[in-house]
Symmetry: C2
DNA sequence: CTGAAAGCGCTAACAA
DNA sequence: TTGTTAGCGCTTTCAG
């Protein structure tokens, strides 16, 4: 009772050739109304549906899109996944989600895999991948969209426009008298460094803030790493008056640590996150953060991917603007 | 420069037939050490890798597993996805995530799709699907695992063992003098009703609690529905002293509403969730909840799926035990 | 232990 | 406007 109905069966039932059935389905060739009706009749009489696997083998392209992220359990990526799926479903694409754990080996392997599988495209948030790792897959003509803070050469990119937001956040800190600012940044060995950290240090001086080298700690984008980083910072001889975190999950980790250490936020120290996942407004104190809307990022990524699938070849970059959201933690 | 290297090329390079290459790869037939070495040499000299699409066409089964959930942006399902992916990756399976929005039409369509795509299996959290909707796909021999509170006939099932936890939770309410208990339950038209609600009403009387019919409201498993449900309950002539929610997201919605209404939790009213997603311990007051560990559910589901793929045919049910977690909201 | 060959179900030339 | 046909790259009988 499985789908044992092939195009051949339909063709026979409709008294045409299987090619005609194919053309009725794809519309790639004019077909008489009569034959069309006859074929369509046979199709739903027999309950036929096209075998996507055979089709993929023949055309060399599947309807699968890979979404490669560090961790789908991270709310930012979960929401990103949701919005990409929503955008792509209409066009019949399925989304294969894979987790890299931000590990370079996994990032490479999953990109390879997308190539072998002849996926229709890849949306990826790389952390440690070499910037030239896209050569092979782009050489195979598989569309790639990268979501990252770092500029990548020759690849479609969705990236934040966050200069203004960072300036706002730091202006806000300065206004409340916080001068000595620390940063819980991303991993030291991330490809292209940590642009979020870069933006902060770039603007600090002009805004009257100081980011001492010893007040910069590195770690993964996780809650645990955030807690660890915060504790490290609190050992500093000159305790910072504010901590800016690479994302909201690390900021939550910092709050965990602050609680353990008996430090009050924002009394003893101001805390800022990045992304504005739902959790940011749910924790207490509510977390001030630089909002980078996952949903919009996903929409943009899906858009770029579809454009490539539809034939665009010149790489494009979409900047999603980030905003400072002031809440109780700063 | 794409993967234009086929088994034929490898065969020629190794001076054997493509059948032999296939057998070297699959190990389904004994092969001399000499030929094996020669083939393996050719394989990595040419950078060959097997085309999964051709393989799927031939065998009639792909290495894709469908994960069909209401909303991957819901932390419970995100974590479920993560753990399933972790379990399945080792065996080479990829996970295709789809969102149903808990809509029956989508649930049916996505199940169908898994059939057409010849997926290796399906893990599904159904809400409104008819219980006999699995016939077709099971008839096609595609393994299915359902994660649900409701018992489903003839399908592998991962389901909570929550009687004890519910009794604990309600005992706790009774002990703190809450007698009049309300429930924010799942949708009224869910397949098999709402077993979480069922468990509550089943135990209420024996524990000295009262769940009045007008204190049961229905809605989706979302934050918004939770807020709406809570507001409805607060209009009740006899305001309940405790509210039990079908999951943590609805409980968070209830907290949203409580704040708007100026009600104190747990002072004016106790609040309980269900699942224990990370957010439960992050909101204030921290949410008491009935912990149903998504990670374990995912592991069990993956296990069941693999067993089926490996040939088991008799349906199996795994019960994951739930526990009451007492926090500040009750 | 190895090879030859027949397809899996579809698409896209090429003919008619 | 339609049909014929040759594969896409693999697995798996059936012979050797």
């Amino acid at each position: 009772m499985a789908q044992r109905v092939t195009m051949h069966d339909v063709a026979r039932a409709a008294g045409v050739s299987s090619a005609t059935v194919s053309y009725v389905l794809s519309g790639k060739r004019p077909v008489t109304d009569a034959t069309r009706r006859s074929v369509e009749g046979a199709i739903d009489r027999l309950g036929f549906s096209l075998n996507p696997v055979a089709r993929s083998l023949r055309t060399g392209r599947s309807m699968m899109v890979a979404l490669v992220v560090p961790d789908i359990a991270n709310p930012f990526y979960a929401l990103l996944a949701r919005s990409i799926q929503d955008e792509l479903r209409g066009r019949g694409y399925h989304v294969v989600v894979s987790n890299t754990g931000a590990e370079r080996g996994e990032e490479e392997a999953l990109l390879q895999e997308a190539l072998h599988q002849r996926f229709a495209g890849v949306v990826m948030t790389p952390f440690r991948l070499a910037t030239d790792a896209y050569e092979a897959i782009r050489g195979a003509g598989i569309p790639v969209v990268v979501s990252a803070d770092t500029p990548f050469c020759d690849v479609d990119l969705v990236t934040p426009d966050a200069e203004g937001a960072v300036v706002d956040a730091m202006t806000h800190l300065a206004a409340s008298g916080r001068r000595n600012v620390a940063v819980i940044a991303g991993p030291r060995d991330a490809t292209g460094g940590d642009p979020r950290l870069g933006r902060i240090t770039a603007h600090a001086a002009a805004l009257g803030l100081q980011v001492r080298p010893e007040n910069i700690v590195h770690g993964e984008h996780t809650r645990e790493a955030g807690a660890e980083g915060f504790e490290k910072l609190m050992l500093s001889a000159r305790r910072p008056e504010a901590v800016m975190c690479v994302n909201d999950m690390t900021a939550v980790g910092a709050m965990d640590a602050a609680e353990r250490l008996g430090l009050d936020i924002p009394g003893d120290i101001a805390l800022l996150g990045h992304d504005d996942i739902d959790i940011a407004a749910l924790v207490r104190p509510r977390l001030s953060t630089i909002r980078y809307p996952a949903r919009e990022v996903g929409v943009a990524a899906a858009q770029l991917l579809l454009e490539q699938i539809d034939g665009r070849t010149r790489p494009r970059t979409v900047r999603v603007v980030a905003h400072f959201v002031s809440r109780a933690s700063s």
